[in-house]
């Protein structure tokens, strides 16, 4: 049996506007740019992909299934700038063939810096999924698939999730295959699903690469590779950014045609099916434990955290934002807390990455800055103003008391 398990990451950060040391306003975010990007990606990706997938789900009458993880920062932007995207997600949710995963509302790195903040953001996200789609997430994915044993144990201890998702990195799997269900080291109940990065990246990264010897990739060719899993595994986890469809791979590469024909060819093989992550863990037992003492992620070839916390600017910015947690929360000022949280989105730190900067490469996707240094300066200026705001609030309340 080979089950195909799709999970699409749907995320955009709330980008900051140009903010200098001379600015003192509290409007940190670039509504204009965020709206423009949100609408552009909605038209190129979210809307056409949602419509196509909805069509496919209806066509295959319950046999084609997918899952999403949508961040709070993007959902807020949909509400503001592209409400029609929300209604298509709503329609997808009602088919019963779509699962929504849990994650931190702000696509943050909070697990690494504050467990308390992490839990609050996970709960915020679950609540939002419940209220928007009437579905409470059972499976958790951490920002950028950042993962280790501690995260799995912590997630299990919350009693909110039955499984967790991560990268099927070679160095954690060794000779083993990502095409099985595992148990994280130190967990009893929680199951672990690992991304089949080879097959996932064939779609997400290599699809339009004409230098690739397998180009052009057609649905029937891809399904032939899927079929080889029959007999050597239960599940093929195809995890990727949703923007793969129409944005990373433009429509003229044939990516939507590929997606359109994938269920047809997949279901031709009698042993194949589509499952959501929850169905996968209900259907298959764990075949062993996976030990991940060190942090991994799905980024770059290193699959490590250096894209977010690899240089002194990134660590200083991260330490600074989380150092403010107690103060900001004690203010009980909703706007202040929400601004502080939006500043935790991992993208802000990704923009500060100096790795590969001279090569000018993948890290450029909708990066609003010319250089990592510019992004750090902008971020720190905003943070500085946030601190001043808190101080002022604090002084005012002290006066009133």
């Amino acid at each position: 049996m080979a089950s195909v398990c799709f999970y699409f990451q749907v995320h955009q950060p709330t980008r900051l506007r140009h903010y200098t040391v001379f600015d003192s306003q509290h409007d940190y975010f670039d509504d204009h740019k965020n709206a423009a990007i949100c609408k552009k990606v909605a038209n190129k990706c979210y809307l056409p992909a949602n419509r196509l997938l909805l069509k496919l789900i209806k066509k295959y009458k319950g046999k084609f299934k997918i899952s999403y993880s949508i961040t709070g920062t993007l959902l807020e932007q949909f509400e503001q700038f592209a409400p029609e995207v929300l209604s298509t997600f709503h329609a997808l949710a009602q088919t019963g063939c779509v699962e929504f995963l849990g994650e931190t509302y702000y696509h943050s790195l909070s697990f690494l810096y504050s467990r308390e903040e992490f839990l609050e953001q996970v709960k915020m996200h679950s609540d939002m999924m419940n209220s928007l789609f009437g579905l409470k997430p059972r499976v958790f994915r951490n920002t950028e698939l950042i993962y280790n044993n501690d995260l799995a144990a912590f997630i299990e201890s919350t009693d909110q999730f039955d499984a967790i998702i991560s990268e099927g990195a070679d160095r954690i799997l060794g000779y083993r295959s990502p095409n099985f269900v595992y148990t994280p080291q130190g967990c009893n109940r929680l199951k672990l699903l690992l991304k089949n990065y080879s097959l996932s990246d064939d779609i997400a990264f290599r699809f339009s690469n004409q230098q690739w010897e397998q180009w052009p990739l057609t649905a029937d060719k891809f399904v032939r590779w899927l079929n080889r899993v029959n007999g050597n595994g239960y599940v093929v986890n195809l995890f990727m950014d949703y923007e793969t469809f129409g944005e990373h791979q433009w429509e003229n590469t044939g990516i939507f045609d590929f997606l359109n024909h994938l269920p047809e060819y997949t279901l031709q093989h009698p042993d194949n099916d589509f499952k959501t992550p929850s169905e996968v863990i209900d259907a298959y037992d764990s075949v062993g434990t996976i030990d991940v003492p060190h942090l991994i992620s799905w980024a770059d070839t290193e699959r490590d955290l250096t894209a977010w916390i690899g240089n002194p600017m990134q660590s200083s910015a991260l330490h600074e934002i989380y150092r403010l947690e107690k103060k900001i929360k004690s203010s009980k000022d909703k706007k202040l807390i929400s601004d502080w949280r939006k500043l935790q989105t991992s993208d802000h730190f990704y923009y500060m990455c100096t790795k590969y900067f001279d090569d000018g490469d993948v890290h450029k996707y909708f990066n609003p800055y010319d250089s990592p240094y510019d992004s750090y300066i902008n971020y720190m200026n905003v943070l500085d103003n946030l601190k001043k705001r808190h101080k002022k609030l604090h002084e005012n309340t002290a006066c009133l008391a």
Partner: protein
């Protein structure tokens, strides 16, 4: 292969990047095994000629001498006695000649103009005439040399290079380090522009120090883009900072814990001193613990001093005058940040030197060097708010400074003169191949 190179005096006896570039490039070309006859203007009574070994001055004609610089093999240096210096305007040149005559008078007592004139018979009081005279002497010199290619640096040497080319028929390469538009904005000196234009048209290849300059050459001088190659400058790491150099803070008025933001270069319109000062004013509005040092001299020096006073930041800005040698190293040691707000900078070697000395840099986007540096802060020269914003950030956030230092230093280390020389030699080969193959 042998190159007849018309260039400028080597460091430390130079007033800007042109000498540094000539030295770095010539040394690297010679290290690639290409022979160079290097011809430069130099006044005979120059007192600072200790770095070159005078081999046999008397054996040669009165108007040029023969030197050998010890550290560069394959290079024969020939100096032509002339007061020409790069970056001089015709007015400055005339003033300088007057000063020379005045000095002679001072040393020799009352002399008639005729006596002086006899003594300096070969100097012309007019810069353009001197440039032409230089061309005649250079052409005479060229007839005594054997070479394959002529390579000339900036407009003052172009008439000489064209003369040599027409006499010998050898292919001509002109190198452009700075155009009249960079130096004078839109108020170009027409005769200089004409000489530059003639040089570009006469040459078989034009080498521009950046795409920025290549663009000026093609759009302002109507030169076919195919003819213009870009060879970025480099940096000579062997001239690295001497760790024993200690800066004494005495007499500077700078407190030990005070930060230092540095401007280093000629204080002229081209270098944007005005924007440096306006940004300084903005910085001081929000950050007090800092001094701004302007190292260099130039025609806007007095204006800049006045401007600092008028902005009310006179006590926060220090003017050091022109620095050379160890003093440059000292100022780099002190500096927390180097700012180059150039209005129009064909290349800009100074940021590379600053990075080489572990000083982070802010450079104007209107510079050639910004094409080859990524680990620096870039600004539009006119965007004073943004310059100030970035200055404050570097002073305030140590992790920003450290990242810029480490990555910037490493990036600068990859920009070697060997790369530039290799590209030049390729251009030579193509030209020779075109001529003989």
């Amino acid at each position: 292969m042998k190159i007849f190179m018309l260039g400028w005096e080597f460091p430390p006896f130079i007033s800007g990047g042109l000498g540094t570039a000539c030295y770095g490039l010539t040394k690297a070309i010679s290290q690639l095994g290409t022979e160079v006859v290097f011809v430069l203007p130099k006044m005979i009574d120059h007192q600072d000629s200790t770095h070159v070994k005078l081999l046999s001055p008397s054996s040669l004609s009165h108007s040029f001498t023969y030197h050998q610089v010890e550290e560069i093999k394959n290079v024969k240096i020939k100096t032509i006695d002339s007061p020409l210096q790069p970056y001089l305007t015709p007015q400055q040149y005339s003033k300088k000649i007057e000063e020379i005559i005045h000095k002679k008078r001072f040393f020799t007592g009352e002399v008639s103009y005729n006596d002086v004139n006899k003594d300096n018979a070969h100097y012309s009081g007019d810069m353009f005439t001197e440039v032409r005279r230089y061309a005649v002497v250079a052409a005479e010199l060229a007839t005594k040399e054997d070479f394959d290619i002529i390579h000339a640096h900036d407009w003052m040497t172009y008439p000489a290079a064209m003369a040599v080319a027409s006499i010998t028929g050898k292919p001509l390469v002109v190198h452009i380090h700075s155009t009249e538009f960079d130096r004078s904005g839109e108020h170009v000196n027409q005769p200089i522009y004409d000489i530059e234009r003639k040089g570009f048209h006469a040459a078989e290849k034009v080498i521009a120090v950046s795409y920025f300059t290549r663009n000026t050459v093609t759009s302002r001088y109507s030169i076919d883009g195919d003819k213009v190659e870009v060879v970025h400058n480099g940096i000579d790491r062997s001239l690295n900072s001497d760790s024993n150099v200690n800066w004494a803070l005495k007499h500077t008025g700078i407190e030990k814990e005070e930060k230092i933001v540095l401007f280093l270069g000629r204080i002229t319109m081209q270098k944007g001193p005005e924007y440096f000062l306006r940004a300084a004013k903005k910085v001081l509005d929000v950050y007090d613990n800092v001094k701004f040092v302007m190292a260099g001299s130039g025609d806007l020096m007095h204006q800049s001093v006045e401007m600092a006073v008028n902005l009310g930041i006179g006590s926060k800005v220090l003017f050091t005058g022109f620095l050379r040698g160890d003093d440059v190293q000292r100022i780099y040691k002190m500096a927390d940040l180097f700012v180059m707000p150039s209005v129009s900078e064909p290349f800009g070697i100074v940021p590379l030197e600053a990075l080489n000395n572990d000083v982070p840099v802010i450079i104007s986007k209107q510079s050639g060097v910004s094409e080859v540096l990524t680990h620096v802060l870039k600004v539009d020269f006119w965007d004073v708010d943004e310059i100030a914003n970035k200055v404050v950030a570097v002073l305030k956030y140590p992790s920003l400074k450290i990242s810029l230092q480490n990555h910037g230093n490493f990036e600068a280390s990859k920009l070697t003169w060997k790369n530039s020389a290799t590209k030049c030699v390729e251009i030579y080969k193509q030209l020779l191949c075109g001529a003989y193959c």
